[in-house]
């Protein structure tokens, strides 16, 4: 009896002989040192230039893996990169983001970029690529490539995305309107908007001051863009709010996220230019169903709110601009 019980224990001890890890079979250093040596040889052939990285990234089936912390990833990451924090690497978690042990995986880290200290703070000692490469290898991933050079985000050929990136070209409303603007001050646009019954914005030609029809005296969205947040269940809405001649040449835009404020999380605002960026999360109804807000409202107090179906006809004294949100 004793012998049978002793056998598995003995096997375990023998297996751990390479390190003094008897107390914790799950943490093994000797094996780590061996893997590190193995990886050094392999990795030397897997370092790629920016051009090679781009070429490989474009091939179907390639996964770009960003192993930094989530908040850095959300600020700025290489366009198309999937996120899995290094600290969350487990067999299951990796299998979810990398379909196959032979999948081509491209990695990069902080130390590949030198001019973006908030999203990519330099690690003066061990760059994250190193443990990432080693660990992926130890989990049996055989086709890892690592971006080698030290680049500048500003000048790199790589594309980036994230909340710190300029949202880029704005909305495509049905009909793809280009808002006519009439402005003496280059930092402010004056645009008249007509609130259509179905909530879409259509421009009215400038030259009719006072005929601003959205919210009297209030600013309006000149343009609005909605895109999915790649790393979470939310949508990023970027917009440009402009003064209206009904309210005077310069209108201070203050955004108060009212109503269901948990749905609208203001992320950034450049007040003078009227650009704002905020996040929208799906609304949950009483029976647990998720839906996205259909309309955005901006009232005369710059009170921003969202809702599902259109609000009923406005009550006197409460006027608002209504914008249909278009999700792609």
């Amino acid at each position: 009896m004793k012998a049978i019980l002793a056998l598995p224990f003995a096997v375990m001890v023998l297996g751990l002989a390479s390190g003094q890890e008897a107390a914790n079979p799950n943490v093994r250093f000797g094996e780590f040192a061996d893997q590190t040596a193995e990886v050094q040889k392999l990795r030397a052939e897997r370092l790629v230039s920016e051009d090679e990285f781009l070429k490989l990234a474009a091939e179907p089936g390639t996964v770009i893996l960003d192993a930094r912390s989530k908040d850095k990833y959300e600020l700025l990451h290489v366009k198309g990169a999937t996120h899995l924090a290094y600290t969350d690497f487990t067999a299951e978690a990796l299998a979810k983001v990398i379909p196959d042990k032979g999948t081509r995986v491209l990695i990069y880290c902080n130390n590949n970029f030198k001019d973006a200290a908030q999203a990519f703070p330099t690690k003066t000692k061990v760059a994250l690529n190193i443990p990432t490469f080693i660990t992926l290898h130890s989990y049996g991933y055989t086709n890892i490539h690592e971006l080698q050079p030290l680049l500048e985000v500003k000048t790199a050929k790589l594309s980036f995305e994230g909340t710190s990136v300029d949202p880029g070209p704005l909305i495509e409303q049905p009909g793809k309107h280009r808002w006519p603007t009439d402005t003496k001050d280059p930092q402010l646009s004056f645009v008249n908007v007509v609130r259509a019954d179905d909530g879409t914005i259509s421009p009215q030609l400038p030259g009719k001051p006072g005929e601003f029809l959205a919210a009297a005296g209030a600013p309006a969205f000149e343009s609005l863009s909605v895109r999915k947040n790649p790393s979470g269940n939310s949508w990023m809405v970027s917009g440009k709010i402009v003064s209206t001649n009904a309210g005077g040449p310069v209108q201070q835009v203050k955004i108060y996220t009212g109503g269901d404020s948990r749905l609208v999380q203001l992320l950034a605002m450049s007040d003078h230019k009227g650009e704002i960026l905020f996040a929208l999360s799906p609304m949950r109804s009483a029976d647990g169903k998720e839906s996205l807000p259909e309309y955005l409202y901006l009232d005369k107090h710059s009170h921003l709110s969202v809702s599902g179906p259109p609000q009923p006809a406005e009550t006197p004294g409460w006027d608002f601009g209504r914008y249909k949100l278009i999700y792609k």
Binding site: A23, N26, S69, D88, T90, P121, N129, Q148, P149
Partner: protein, 171 residues
């Protein structure tokens, strides 16, 4: 003879070409694998002496000036961590970030990771042994000059360990 000379010359050219190709891409000065390997080798010896059992971990954690450092992902830390542990995700280790959390280079730092605990697969998910976070955390801290690091050695059951926990998922 001619053939030999030609093939030697060809080999020479090939070597030079290879050398040029290798030299094309200057290595990234901020990513030093060789240096890491050397550091890891040093650490291996030191770490063997610094792995401590449960009782000693608890005893040291109670000493004034000692920091318990949790280097896991933030959301896992928020769900559950050793009571009193400070958080800095391994992915965020930089000179400045570490200096904010650890008072001095010789401060006693206790580390632990997922692989120290069984019984909570959501927040303390096992990693394959050579990939355990402790190994990298210990090595990294050492390269940043933190010379007084200790690591919880055993694998304990979250439910029965004497080490206290706190966090959103802890009652």
């Amino acid at each position: 003879m001619k053939t030999t000379c030609l093939s030697l010359a060809a080999a020479g050219i090939a070597l030079i070409a290879a050398g040029v190709a290798l030299g094309e891409e200057p290595p990234n000065p901020k990513i030093d694998f060789k240096g890491f390997r050397a550091a890891a080798a040093d650490v291996e010896k030191l770490r063997a002496e610094r792995r401590i059992p449960e009782d000693e971990f608890i005893r040291l954690a109670a000493e004034p000036g000692v920091i318990v450092l949790d280097a896991r992902t933030l959301d896992k830390y928020e769900q559950i961590h050793v009571k009193g542990a400070k958080h800095l995700a391994f992915t965020d280790f930089t000179e400045e970030a570490l200096a904010k959390v650890i008072a001095a280079k010789d401060t006693k730092v206790l580390i632990y990771c997922n692989n120290n605990f069984s019984g909570d697969r959501a927040n303390l998910a096992d990693k394959r042994p050579p990939a355990s976070l402790n190994i990298h955390t210990f090595t990294d801290l050492h390269t940043y000059g933190y010379t007084n690091v200790y690591e919880l050695a055993p694998r304990l059951d979250v439910k029965t360990t004497k080490i206290p926990f706190e966090g959103k998922s802890v009652k």
